[in-house]
């Protein structure tokens, strides 16, 4: 009946690239790539990653590893997340630098004259 029809329609393939081991390998490659990005952040980004992320050519190897271990949609998802986090960080940091030296409250001593 319906069960057999369902079973025949869906082949019994198991996508192993989303199981635990593959996921852990993907997370490791991703972390390595982003660590490289953070380390080389003062270099000019020349290579194109995906979804608008640019990275310097020093990180090409880790990028290749990242692409190999993770699915393309995951790569895009993580890149987008990284950009979002970087933008938020920049926002937080920039605000501080633009304001200039802060006026800290001076200790008030009341002098009765």
């Amino acid at each position: 009946m319906a069960l057999e029809a369902y079973a025949s329609r869906n082949p019994d393939t198991v996508h192993a690239d989303v199981l635990s081991k593959a996921r852990q390998a993907c997370y490791k490659a991703r972390d390595a790539f982003y660590a490289c990005l953070d380390k080389e952040s003062n270099k000019r980004p020349t290579e194109i990653a995906s979804v608008g992320l640019l990275y310097p050519s020093e990180c090409k190897n880790s990028r290749a590893e990242f692409d190999k271990h993770c699915r393309a949609s995951w790569v895009k998802h993580f890149d987008r997340q990284y950009c979002r986090n970087r933008r938020v960080q920049r926002l937080l940091d920039d605000k501080d630098s633009r304001r200039g030296p802060l006026m800290l409250p001076q200790p008030y001593t009341f002098k009765s004259s």
Binding site: D12, L19, H77
Partner: protein, 272 residues
């Protein structure tokens, strides 16, 4: 109700009419007396009497209007007050009594409904299989990059905590919102890594879509590149009580300890 009030009002009006008639009879007699006095006093007082009578007519007119209105207003107010008081007495629940349980149930949208899906052993599962047990329901998919595995991990940890620390049983269920790629063996391989007790459910796309609609789950394919896509969804965990009703909903902000505590609280407060 309003008709009776009207009759009540009109009856009061008739009595006010009688009162007003009495007042009218008293008033002119006094004025007639005063007119006589002024007439007898002298010639120049003629104009005055006429002005006097004009003003007295005016005051009489304004006075009669006020004489009509003020008792009517007072009686109307008294009627309204008695009505409100009567209603209060009727609705009042004396202190200490009253239906306590009717205040606690959460009245939200009716989430939930029947479903017919296939589990990891290729058996048909309907919602009747969950009757009499507490169920923690999560809608996800195996190809989720980060949120999915985290949530399933939290679910597994919460179930373990509930069993070990609080000694209560709950059935974790994972329903896939990506039935085209998640077939039963895929689910089995995926869920076994977390906890063997988690039941995985999949099925034809129409059945999954119907269940998602009943449980108000948003899901949508994004980033589609042929066979490789992500599914955007509202990552919510539903707690179902033994009567197959959705009791509570948990978002991604709950970690395992908070989840197990909240589930325990719900279990204790629900009378079976």
């Amino acid at each position: 109700m309003p008709i009776s009030r009207f009759l009540f009002f009109s009856s009061k009006r008739s009595s006010t009419q009688q009162a007003l008639n009495l007042l009218k009879r008293c008033g002119p007699s006094k004025r007639i007396q005063s007119c006589n006095y002024t007439k007898s006093s002298g010639g120049f007082s003629n104009g005055k009497t006429r002005a006097h009578s004009v003003t007295s007519v005016e005051t009489q007119a304004s006075r009669s209007w006020a004489v009509y209105a003020v008792p009517a207003a007072l009686l109307g107010f008294a009627g309204l007050a008695t009505l409100v008081h009567y209603n209060d007495e009727r609705r009042a629940i004396p202190k200490g009594q009253g239906n306590k349980s009717s205040g606690n149930t959460v009245k939200g949208p009716t989430i939930g409904g029947p479903f017919t899906l296939v589990d990891t052993e290729n058996r048909i599962v309907t919602e009747q299989n969950f009757h009499g047990k507490w169920v923690l329901l999560y809608f996800g998919y195996t190809s989720s990059p980060d949120v999915g595995p985290e949530q399933v991990q939290i679910m597994a940890k919460a179930v373990k905590l509930l069993e070990s620390k609080y000694n209560s049983e709950i059935l974790p269920v994972f329903v896939t919102i990506d039935p085209q790629r998640d077939n039963p063996s895929q689910l089995r391989a995926y869920l076994n890594e977390f906890d063997s007790r988690i039941i995985g459910l999949t099925g034809p796309v129409s059945a999954i879509r119907q269940m998602a609609q009943e449980y108000r789950i948003y899901f949508k394919k994004v980033e589609e590149e042929g066979d490789d896509y992500l599914v955007d969804s509202s990552h919510n965990m539903y707690l179902m009580n033994p009567r197959i009703e959705v009791a509570r909903c948990f978002g991604v902000e709950y970690n395992a300890e908070e989840l197990s505590e909240a589930i325990l609280k719900a279990m204790i407060s629900t009378p079976t």
